[in-house]
């Protein structure tokens, strides 16, 4: 069921178009993420949904009713800010109870609900502390609790995990997923961290320069990026300049600069002569020692140029003929071996035809 609809929304600051004719439909109960580099307009879009900025054009509909004229305090949405925005002069309990107080609940009801919520986020013993006496993760949980306590129709989250360190962030991601499921509240999450978006979301909207590039499920965004920007922004990908020379049935025949003819799966709206890139994820690229039996139809001989050992995986940089370079990711799942190849080793590079794709410019 549709909860919120953003329809043809545009926002300009002077001559700069921050949000450019954006259309989004958000379903009830969804964990929806706006993903994009800084300055792509995702925060501006979030502020418009929250009611802090008014769009120059377009509509924002809640339950099919336009809410553009409602001020933020009248919208049944709450926001978790990147800086948490906890009230420093109030205790944890008062911070969490604030939305209830503003909606005119009795102090008895506030007390009961705050106590419940505090135990849910495991902060019961901190109820009389002040925000400056809490750790980053605790502040974060207070901010979530404050955003959720009054059961908003929609919780808006503006890079809420940005200020946490890596380890804590992973824990908070898990917590966030279970929190959303438990509270049964629709989330709109803004982030520039693609791994966070992939890990958390039901659907992702990738934004760039005020426009939506692609809206889809995380696995589809990752595996079937719609264009060069999405392919490049989400994860790592090898991009080779290519031109379509033949399009027949299920295949495209491409002329890849430096490598010659390569096959790729067909895609819509592509015709002979189109320029673009052949995109392939590093983990789809297979490398074998020179001379070993390789099943894949398409294979090339190259040389290990460099590698990056990260522990669980190693990324190899391979130089193909004509100085074309390609990256391949190998899991380090061979006990006793730090890595399989050394710099300078000759290797056979191959990939399955359907694991590569042509992205027109």
């Amino acid at each position: 069921m549709t909860l919120l609809e953003v329809r043809n929304v545009t926002k300009r600051f002077g001559s700069f178009t921050a949000v450019d004719d954006v259309n989004i439909t958000i379903k009830t109960g969804e964990f929806f993420t706006l993903l994009g580099p800084s300055g792509c307009g995702k925060t501006t879009l979030l502020r418009m949904i929250a009611g802090f900025d008014a769009p120059d054009n377009g509509q924002i509909l809640l339950d099919n009713k336009d809410i553009i004229d409602l001020p933020p305090e009248k919208r049944p949405f709450h926001t978790v800010f990147q800086s948490y925005a906890l009230f420093s002069h109030m205790t944890v309990a008062d911070n969490i109870g604030f939305p209830l107080k503003m909606s005119g609940k009795t102090s008895r009801e506030i007390k009961i609900r705050v106590a419940e919520t505090l135990s849910e986020v495991e902060l019961s013993s901190f109820s009389h502390r002040y925000p400056h006496e809490l750790s980053g993760g605790q502040k974060q949980r207070v901010a979530f609790a404050r955003g959720l306590i009054n059961q908003p129709r929609l919780l808006l989250l503006d890079e809420p995990l940005g200020a946490l360190d890596e380890k804590l962030r992973e824990n908070m991601q898990r917590e966030l997923i279970s929190l959303q499921a438990k509270a049964n509240v629709t989330f709109i999450y803004v982030t520039h961290a693609q791994n966070e978006a992939l890990a958390l979301s039901h659907r992702i909207a990738v934004m760039n320069q005020g426009k939506i590039e692609q809206i889809d499920e995380p696995s589809r965004i990752y595996n079937f990026p719609i264009n060069r920007f999405v392919a490049d922004f989400i994860g790592k990908i090898n991009m080779l300049d290519a031109q379509v020379i033949e399009a027949s049935g299920y295949h495209l025949k491409l002329k890849v600069t430096g490598l010659g003819e390569v096959m790729a799966p067909v895609r819509e709206h592509v015709k002979i002569g189109d320029q673009g890139i052949l995109a392939i994820r590093p983990e789809q690229v297979r490398i074998d020692p020179l001379g070993s039996e390789v099943a894949a139809k398409f294979q090339l001989v190259g040389k290990i140029k460099d590698f990056l050992y990260i522990g669980d995986v190693t990324t190899y940089l391979i130089e193909l003929p004509n100085s074309i370079r390609i990256e391949a990711l190998q899991p380090n799942s061979f006990p006793g071996h730090a890595k399989l190849f050394e710099i300078g080793d000759p290797v056979v590079v191959s990939w399955q035809e359907h694991s590569a794709q042509f992205l027109p410019d």
């Binding site: 009611g51 001020p71 933020p72 305090e73 800010f81 925005a85 604030f98 503003m102 404050r146």
Partner: protein
């Protein structure tokens, strides 16, 4: 000062010299609590203290009410204009304090435009004309005028440091503009209010020039009383006693204020 307050006044003012004490200790007990007894014996001194406190309290409250909108306007305005506005607030200090008070004498004087205006309005309603000058009202005006910047500056310094995101958060969580002020801005500005209040309340309490110039004969405050003890009556011990009583009361007030302003006292 403490020592002086326990001694006796000399015949021609000043103090009875210490060396006399040793010669005739019975007649001159040296250190006495006579002046304190005198202070508490006559209710008029206590009354003047009360009146001074009332004037200081009223001045402080009016200063808070007047300074708050201006300070938040300055704190919210663009950085470029803030310095100019602060300069305008401090500008009166460029001229002498007494000259500014005498200026108010002219403004409030019976022949001034203001007086004429007020009295013509009053006569329209059938009320007898009033004299503005030499009244408690004139003293209050002078006090507020002189001390307003001392409230504006600390309040501005405080308000400027408020994180605007907190107001956004409050609004987002359902707070109306009045609730945003009362639950977010006001409690956070209390330290500014308290330091501004100390800077206004204490000098007003001891002020003598303004009641001297703008007040009538019955509008004297503690400051005038003390000044008179030293310069006219030349009763130094009693002047010292009054000063000490004033200092004690100020200490109590400051202690109370800083106790109120201690961090983490306010809950919603």
């Amino acid at each position: 000062m403490v020592l002086t307050s326990f001694r006796l006044p000399g015949e021609f003012g000043g103090l009875v010299p210490i060396h006399i004490l040793s010669e005739d200790a019975n007649e001159n007990p040296g250190l006495t609590i006579e002046t304190y007894q005198f202070f508490f014996s006559d209710f008029i001194y206590f009354e003047i203290f009360i009146k001074s406190f009332a004037v200081a309290t009223l001045t402080t409250i009016i200063c808070i009410v007047m300074a708050y909108p201006l300070a938040s306007l300055i704190a919210r305005s663009h950085k470029k204009f803030r310095h100019l506005m602060i300069m305008l607030v401090v500008l009166p200090f460029a001229s002498n304090f007494l000259i500014r008070i005498y200026a108010w004498m002219i403004i409030l004087g019976p022949e001034s435009t203001l007086s004429h205006m007020i009295n013509s309005i009053l006569s329209f309603f059938g009320i007898a004309p009033v004299t503005l000058l030499f009244s408690p009202f004139a003293v209050l005006i002078g006090m507020i005028y002189v001390h307003l910047p001392f409230m504006i500056l600390p309040l501005y310094t405080n308000l400027e440091q408020h994180d605007p995101i907190l107001l956004d958060a409050a609004q987002d969580l359902g707070a109306s503009s009045w609730q945003r002020f009362w639950y977010v801005t006001w409690p956070q500005s209390l330290p500014g209010i308290f330091s501004g209040s100390a800077l206004v309340f204490i000098p007003v309490l001891g002020m003598f020039a303004i009641p001297d110039i703008l007040g009538g004969t019955s509008d004297i405050m503690i400051g005038n009383l003390i000044k008179d003890q030293f310069l006219s009556t030349r009763d130094w011990p009693f002047g010292s006693t009054l000063s000490i009583m004033l200092t004690l009361m100020v200490l109590v007030i400051v202690g109370l204020l800083s106790w109120l302003a201690r961090p983490g006292t306010r809950t919603i």
